[in-house]
Amino acid sequence: MTAQAGDITRTPSAKGALRRRLPGSLAWHIGALALLAVILYPVVWVVGGSFKASEDIVGSLDLFPADPIVSNYTGLADGIADISVSTFFFNSLLLAVGSVIGILISCSLTAYAFAKIRFAGRNLLFTLMIGTLLLPYHVLLIPQYVLFRNLDMINTYTPLLLGKYLATEAFFVFLMVQFMRNLPRELDEAARLDGCGHLRIYWSIVLPLCRPALITSAIFTFINSWNDFMGPLIYLNEPGKYTVSLGLKMFVDQEGLANYGGMIAMSLVALLPVLAFFLAFQRYLIDGMATSGLKG
C-alpha cells in the first residue's frame, strides 16, 4: 500500500505535488514490472528453450542460447509415434469448433427461456442450473463413462461433444442470462405486440444484441476445449484420434528427456492458438470474467 501514498497531493504548490507523486509512480511501475517478470518467466523460458539443444535446456541459465537451433521445430515434422503433429491439431480444432457451435446454440436457447419467457417452474429450474455450476465434475465422470461405454461411444468424439449441445455448461447459460436480463425490455415487448413469436424475438432481436456475451462464451469454450485433458484422456484410446493435449502427453511418455527440445517446442506450438485468441480478444475475456464475478 505504500505506493498509494503518491495519490494524495495535499501540497498546494505544483512542484511539491510533482515531487510527492514521482516516487509513488516509480515504485508502482517497478512493482508491476517485477511482477510481470515473474509471471512471464516461464513463457520466455519455453520460447528460449525451444531454440536450444536438448541437453542445454534444463541446466543452462541463459534464457536464450548463444547459437539458436531450429531442429526442435523441424523435428516436429516427423510427428509423434508415426502420427503427424497436424493430425493432433486437426482433431483438437474439430473438437473446439464443434464445442463452440454447440455451446452457442444450446446455451443461448436455454438462457433465452430463463431470461425472457415466464413459464411454470422457471425458478426451480434456474436454481437447479446454478446448482450444477458448483457440482464437482468428478461425480459425473464414472457414470458418464459407463453410459457412453454402454452406448458403444468410447473412442469417438460424441462423449466430448454431446454435453456442449445439451447446455450442460451452466457457466455460459448463466453469463447469457445475465446479459439478456439487462437488455431493454421495451424491445421485445414491442416485438410481441407486433405479433412476433419467441423464436423470432430470440433470433432477430435478442441474439444480435447478445453478441458480446456470445463472443465471450465462444472464446472461453474454444480455449477450454483446446486445453481439456481429462476428457480426451478417458474417452480416446487410439493415437490417431488424440487431441494436442493427449499427443503432448504421449510425447512426454515416449521420448521424454531424450528429446527435451522437441517436447518444449511442441508445448509452445500447442499454446499458440490459445495465445492468439487471447491477444485478439483479451478485452472480451477479461470483461466476461469481471461481470461473472460481479453479478454472479
Binding site: W45, H138, P143, Y145, V146, Y202, F229, V252, Q282, A290
Partner: protein, 333 residues
C-alpha cells in the same frame, strides 16, 4: 451481489414478475391469460429442451447411477454387485486414500489463500489509475487461460526439476533441496506455485469489485484523517466482501478438483501416476487410478461422492459464514 451465486438471480426474477401484460386500461380476460400462460409454458419448455435433456441424461441420471455404484463392486465387465458400505470402509482404512486426502486438503488450505491474497494485492496495485494499467491487467490475466494446459504443466515440471532455475536460485540462498518435482515432499509446492501463478482470474474479479467502491467514501475518510490502512479495513474490505466471497467459494471448489496439473507434473517418473512416492497424489488422481487403472468403478464412485460431500460441506460453511463477514448493500440486487 455475491450471494447471487445461488439466490439473487432467482429473487430478482421473482421481483420482476408482476409486470403489465396488456396495455393500460384494458383488464385482461381470465380466459386470455390462461391461454397465454399455456403458450408461454410450452415455449419455455421447448427452448429449455436441450438443457432439460442434458440435465436428465448427463447430470441427474449419472448422479443417481454414481450413488448406486458407490455401494457396489463394479469392474465394468461384470454386473455391479451390492456390497453395502464396504467401499467406504475400505477407503477409510486405506493409507493411500488418507494420504491423498491430506495432500489435497494441504493443497487447498495453502494454495487458495495464497492465490487470493496475491490476487487481491495485485488488484489493489492495479486499481490505481496509472499508465499501462490495462496492459498489466491483460498480462497478469494470461496465465489463467493457459495454466490448465498440458504445455504449461510440462514447462512447470522442467522449471522445478533438479538443477533448473528454481533449484539454482535456492542454492544461491544456501538451500540445497534439489529439484521440487523429484521430491515427494516438495512436489506439492510446485503445484501450489502453479495455481498461484494463475492469480489473474480472481484478480480481474477483484478489480471489477474495487472499481465499484464509491470514491466519496475515501474522500470522506481522507477528510476525517483516516490512514490508508484503516481505509482498507473499514471501507475497501467491507465494500468488496461480496466479490471476495465469490472468489473464495469458486477457488476453493476448483482447488478440490485439481487433476491435470498433478497428473502431468507428477507423472512419468518410474511409471508412477501421481508424483514420486505419491507426492502429488491429490484426491482426483487417486480416483482416476482406482477407477480407470484398476477398474474399480464402484470404489471410485464412492470416492467421488465423498468429494461431493466435502465440497458441499465447505460450500455450506462458506454460505453460513457470509452472514458474519459479507456486506451487501441495502436494497442491492
Amino acid at each position: 451481489m455475491g450471494t447471487a451465486v445461488t439466490h439473487a438471480p432467482a429473487t430478482e426474477a421473482r421481483a420482476k414478475d408482476p409486470e403489465p401484460r396488456h396495455g393500460p386500461g384494458t383488464p385482461p380476460r381470465p380466459a386470455d391469460l390462461k391461454r397465454r400462460g399455456r403458450r408461454e409454458n410450452l415455449a419455455g419448455y421447448l427452448f429449455m429442451s436441450p438443457w432439460i435433456a442434458g440435465f436428465l441424461l448427463l447430470t441427474a441420471g449419472p448422479m443417481a447411477a454414481s450413488l448406486y455404484f458407490a455401494f457396489t463392486d463394479y469392474n465394468l465387465f461384470d454386473a455391479p454387485r451390492w456390497i453395502g458400505l464396504d467401499n467406504f470402509s475400505e477407503m477409510l482404512g486405506d493409507p493411500r486414500w488418507r494420504h491423498s486426502v491430506r495432500v489435497t486438503l494441504w493443497y487447498v488450505a495453502v494454495g487458495t489463500p495464497v492465490k487470493l491474497l496475491v490476487a487481491l494485492g495485485v488488484a489493489l496495485l492495479l486499481a490505481q489509475k496509472r499508465r499501462g494499467q490495462a496492459f498489466y491487467r491483460a498480462a497478469f490475466y494470461a496465465p489463467s487461460l493457459i495454466g490448465a494446459s498440458v504445455s504449461v504443466a510440462i514447462v512447470w515440471k522442467a522449471i522445478f526439476s533438479d538443477d533448473a532455475i528454481v533449484d539454482r536460485t535456492q542454492k544461491v540462498f544456501g538451500i540445497d533441496a534439489g529439484g521440487w518435482t523429484g521430491d515427494p515432499d516438495l512436489i506439492i509446492y510446485s503445484l501450489v506455485a502453479l495455481t498461484v501463478w494463475q492469480f489473474g482470474a480472481p484478480m480481474v474479479i477483484f478489480l471489477a469489485g474495487l472499481k465499484q467502491v464509491p470514491r466519496e467514501l475515501y474522500e470522506a475518510a481522507d477528510v476525517d484523517g483516516a490512514g490508508k490502512l484503516r481505509q482498507f479495513w473499514k471501507i475497501t474490505l467491507p465494500m468488496i466482501s461480496p466479490v471476495l466471497f465469490f472468489n473464495v467459494l469458486l477457488e476453493t471448489i476448483h482447488s478440490f478438483q485439481i487433476f491435470s496439473s498433478a497428473y502431468i507434473v507428477g507423472g512419468g517418473a518410474g511409471g508412477n501416476a501421481c508424483g514420486p512416492a505419491d507426492g502429488s497424489m491429490v484426491y482426483t488422481c487417486y480416483l482416476y487410478v482406482q477407477g480407470f487403472e484398476n477398474s474399480r468403478m464402484g470404489l471410485a464412485s464412492a470416492m467421488a461422492w465423498m468429494l461431493l460431500v466435502a465440497v458441499a460441506l465447505v460450500t455450506a460453511v462458506l454460505f453460513w459464514s457470509q452472514k458474519r463477514w459479507v456486506h451487501y448493500e441495502e436494497g442491492g440486487r
